[in-house]
Subunit: 144 residues, 2 copies
DNA sequence: GTTAGCAGTTACCAAAAGGATAGTGCTATA
DNA sequence: TATAGCACTATCCTTTTGGTAACTGCTAAC
């Protein structure tokens, strides 16, 4: 039977299994390194929130900025450049009057879907674990 | 039909659906915030690698240190304290000669399994996307 | 009796990330 | 004519993160 990486509960196709297939039964650096590759790309407080905001139809700079609590222009500008460099976001300039800029997700960004879903699920239950689920009213609000 | 958060491809039970259920059709801060809650806990280069190393049977301080490339005593020490504070790792001191210290995962850490699996899967394919899959030989090695 | 390992800590320092505030040139609206 | 919005950039500053090196007290092995 195949088991998960952190528990011995049965799973369908797991990290541990893939690791075993590579023949590395001891250290399994092969698990740590791909995880770190992923972390290198989505690292920091802002990249995933930005991707989520764009995915929800906020294409314009100020529109994205308004929809991510506490972010500043400077940080958003820098993170968008990073995301562009990683081919997750596309920046398009339209020669209208005045010029408009649109940020959209590349098809590659869609491959992050399972990661975001897993983090959303874990974050949701973690919040319930920390405060009781009743205290949703304490959630920070967007525009103060 | 229900669709994923980044694409319009069908999914079974998705972030978007949960979001819609909450009645937030516009901004869906409800997606960004749980993701940020999760990121606050697992953020940084080291926390997930440490959890993975412990999960693979490396319980002792030096043992963990040896199995995570480039980590230093100082950083490991600090990150272990953080993980303990977040109830993901348990530190046990045994009164042997000499005293031994063991780090183990709590049951709560096991709930991170889907997150780690998703990051592992994405990191693996991302690496293939960046270099060709043939260049596995270029992977950094553990002890130089 | 010297070396090596264990489980860290301390001090110092550099780099990266993030926050606050202001300002740019442009245009559309009141 | 003044205000506001857009898409940023610039400057300054603080906090966080990470890296180097040395050092602690202890014990076991050579």
């Amino acid at each position: 039977m195949v088991t998960g990486i952190l528990t011995d509960q049965p799973m369908e196709l797991t990290v541990k299994e893939k690791c075993m297939e590579k023949g590395d039964h001891k250290d399994c650096l092969g698990v740590i390194m791909p995880v770190r590759d992923a972390l290198d790309v989505i690292n920091g407080k802002w990249k995933l929130p930005i991707i989520i905001a764009i995915s929800r139809g906020h294409k314009r700079f100020r529109d994205i900025e308004r929809n991510i609590p506490k972010i500043t222009s400077k940080v958003l500008s820098k993170e968008l450049k990073d995301l562009e460099a990683h081919k997750l976001v596309k920046r398009s300039v339209f020669d209208s009057q005045p010029v408009t800029v649109e940020y959209t997700l590349t098809p590659y960004a869609a491959t992050l879907n399972p990661v975001i879903d897993a983090l959303f699920a874990w974050g949701t239950q973690h919040r319930k674990t920390i405060f009781g689920s009743a205290e949703v009213a304490e959630m920070p609000v967007m525009q103060e």
